[in-house]
């Protein structure tokens, strides 16, 4: 099975004259099967890149909605090794690129090489690493090269020019542009800082700069899409899954992608 990368999906969206839509859901929330169904619903409703988050005990970059969902997933018995089943379940049924968002300790615990090998075998495209910066990522560079995985690091409004450059050079697939100084969570408006972060990433040579944090509505997608290569929605989708199950996730994805 050939793996679909986020770079391919973003390029395809660009060819259609639109930003790629990237949707986040926690793995194992509310249970493993439902999280696969919800991810499939994303792909069937216009989401190009699926980002599955590994529930972690200490998610310092996440706000209340995602924290509560991941706490529930862990309480329901989620185990890290199930992420590979989930990724396989999604890649077998969709043409989306499947990324995993993970805090770093679960990867370290399993072993970086072991994690990367099993993830690639499951059809995964790459990892988004919110608490791993390139400075500490030697093992991950080696493993991602070995298994041909995308490395998505983050840049923030606070990132100095030299750090933006280093992070862009270290990343592959896309660069995750944090739109504001804060944690995940839906906001009514997109931070005015977002465009400057994207401009900095492009200025440093990034081909694909995608914006996340605080994005929840179709008009946000359109607004960000005017300057960024992709738009990342998380909390709003998690809340939809929590409140309305898989059908609600499908409806919101369709609305975000402009299909509904």
């Amino acid at each position: 099975m050939s793996r679909v990368t986020s770079a391919e999906k973003i390029a395809a969206a660009r060819a259609e004259g639109r930003p790629a839509l990237i949707g986040y859901l926690p793995a194992g929330f509310p249970d493993v099967e439902t999280s696969i169904e919800a991810a499939v619903a994303l792909a069937e409703n216009g989401v190009d890149v699926i980002e599955m988050g590994i529930p972690y005990s200490d998610p310092v970059m996440d706000g209340a909605v995602i924290q509560e969902a991941t706490v529930q997933a862990l309480a329901n018995g989620f185990r890290v090794s199930q992420i590979f089943d989930i990724v396989r379940g999604i890649t077998q049924r969709t043409n989306a690129a499947v990324m995993v968002m993970t805090y770093w300790n679960p990867v370290l615990s399993l072993g970086v090489d072991e994690f990367a090998r099993r993830f690639a075998e499951a059809g995964g495209a790459g990892l988004i690493t919110p608490d791993l910066v390139p400075d500490e990522a030697d093992e991950w560079f080696a493993a991602s090269e070995k298994y041909d995985l995308e490395r998505v690091f983050l840049i923030a409004p606070s990132s100095a020019e030299a750090r933006v450059k280093r992070t862009v050079e270290a990343s592959s697939g896309f660069v995750y542009c944090v739109s504001l100084m804060g944690v995940t969570g839906a906001r009514s408006e997109v931070s005015s800082a977002a465009q400057a972060v994207v401009d900095a990433a492009h200025g440093a040579g990034a081909e694909n700069a995608c914006v996340g944090l605080g994005v929840s509505r179709r008009e946000h997608v359109q607004e960000i899409g005017s300057y960024a290569d992709g738009v990342i929605v998380g909390t709003a989708l998690v809340a939809a899954l929590r409140d309305g199950g898989v059908p609600a996730v499908g409806r919101l994805a369709a609305a975000l992608s402009g299909r509904a």
């Binding site: 706490v71 500490e136 804060g182």
Partner: protein
């Protein structure tokens, strides 16, 4: 000071062997860089050094005393000479004041107007609120909801000092979750806010910086024991949660190879019960709160909730320099159970008229064990000297201790915060 190549003192970070580093979100990297630069500049600035010294002397009350505990020694330690480094006598009642004054000065140097802090037992929260009041800074303290119940009087102390205390209701509702919430606050408010981390853990420069401000403990203790006994001690002991008081006193003796160093972790109900906070004893290396270090974690890398009667030791991580010192064998780390700590707590109260923090009682219990071991190995008690770091006073722990020893009426025992 010691400039030789094999010196263990003044390790600058970011790495201590394989430990330390900066395993944290990019959003905070600019603030960590700014803090590192400000700290390095301040250390090289005689005016800053003098300002810290002046505050230590005329505000905190340093140097803290070194008190020989003769009746404690006679009753529990077979006559081995025990000296207590009296950090309990500092303003606010613990070693924590050393670090908060230094960091609050750095916050002002950076032009920040607000400090945030985490607290377990409340000692660091009270110290932070104190420094904020002294220097005219806004102060917000994150405290696990369970800890706000265990330490209700300290919550009131922080509020009296003008701080806002935010109970943290996520996760295990203890120290690690308070740190998570403080980090979330910091990400959102980093422009005007300094995160005044209270222990020698976290991403670089925190471990080396927090140790720097606590080094005074070990430097004083070394001078004092030389002055009082004419020689160095055989051993130095301290309790370890994150490990700030321990690294502070150990630092003074790291390069004195003949001085044994012992850190006592919280053994909770016992290390074979799963209910403990013995991170180095039973943990394995991982990353949490910005540093690679020993960590209590399950097979999936999920942090395990720790347990201890002592809120200040109830933390599943430990400072990275301790992990390094453990691996190279320079410091020995052992667990002390709740019961051992409370037995030592009671002995110190009755023999010396000193009410120790329950955290510090872990060091006392370890000291008793160590003294008995020394005697069993044939040491002459009068020729054996141990310094125990009495990191804080136990006024905050009166209700916990009274409950432990069954001194409270049933009603009061159910509501320790009510007295």
């Amino acid at each position: 000071m010691n400039a030789s190549d094999d010196s263990l003192k003044h390790a600058s970070g970011p790495y201590f062997g394989q430990y330390g580093g900066r395993w944290m979100p990019e959003s905070l990297m600019a603030a960590m860089d700014q803090l590192t630069q400000t700290f390095e500049d301040a250390k090289a600035d005689p005016a800053f050094i003098e300002e810290v010294k002046e505050l230590n002397r005329n505000y905190s009350g340093r140097p803290s005393l070194l008190t020989e505990a003769k009746r404690f020694s006679a009753q529990a330690c077979g006559g081995v000479r025990i000296f207590l480094k009296r950090e309990d006598l500092n303003h606010t009642g613990s070693h924590k004041i050393n670090n908060v004054l230094g960091q609050a000065l750095l916050a002002k140097r950076m032009g920040k107007t607000r400090i945030i802090a985490e607290t377990g037992a409340g000692q660091h929260g009270v110290a932070s609120a104190t420094a904020a009041a002294l220097m005219g800074l806004e102060c917000v303290v994150y405290m696990g909801a369970e800890d706000t119940r265990r330490q209700a009087l300290n919550v009131a102390r922080m509020q009296l000092l003008g701080a806002t205390v935010i109970p943290v209701t996520v996760g295990s509702q203890t120290l690690k979750d308070a740190i998570n919430e403080a980090l979330r606050d910091w990400v959102a408010n980093v422009d005007n806010t300094h995160y005044l981390l209270g222990t020698a853990a976290g991403g670089h420069p925190f471990p080396a910086m927090v140790r720097y401000f606590h080094q005074v403990i070990g430097e004083e203790a070394r001078e004092q024991v030389l002055a009082q006994t004419g020689r160095l001690p055989d051993a130095v002991t301290a309790c370890i949660g994150g490990g700030s008081n321990a690294i502070g006193i150990f630092h003074g003796f790291l390069d004195d190879k003949e001085v044994e160093l012992y850190g006592y972790e919280a053994g909770g109900d016992g290390v074979d019960t799963g209910r403990h906070a013995a991170t180095i004893t039973l943990g394995k290396p991982g990353v949490l709160h910005g540093a690679k270090s020993y960590l209590m974690q399950d097979d999936d890398g999920q942090t395990i909730e720790s347990h201890s009667i002592s809120a200040g030791l109830d933390y599943p991580g430990v400072g990275p320099e301790h992990s390094y010192l453990a691996d190279i064998g320079r410091v020995h780390y052992e667990p002390v159970t709740d019961t051992e700590a409370m037995d030592a707590f009671k002995i110190l109260c009755r023999t010396e008229g000193i009410l120790p923090a329950i955290e510090s009682a872990h060091a006392l219990a370890g000291t008793i064990r160590l003294a008995q071991r020394k005697l069993a190995e044939g040491a002459k008690p009068e020729d054996t000297i141990i310094i125990a770091n009495l990191s804080g006073r136990g006024d905050k722990d009166v209700s916990t201790a009274a409950q432990w020893f069954g001194m409270l009426e049933d009603d009061a025992a159910n509501t320790p915060e009510g007295n």
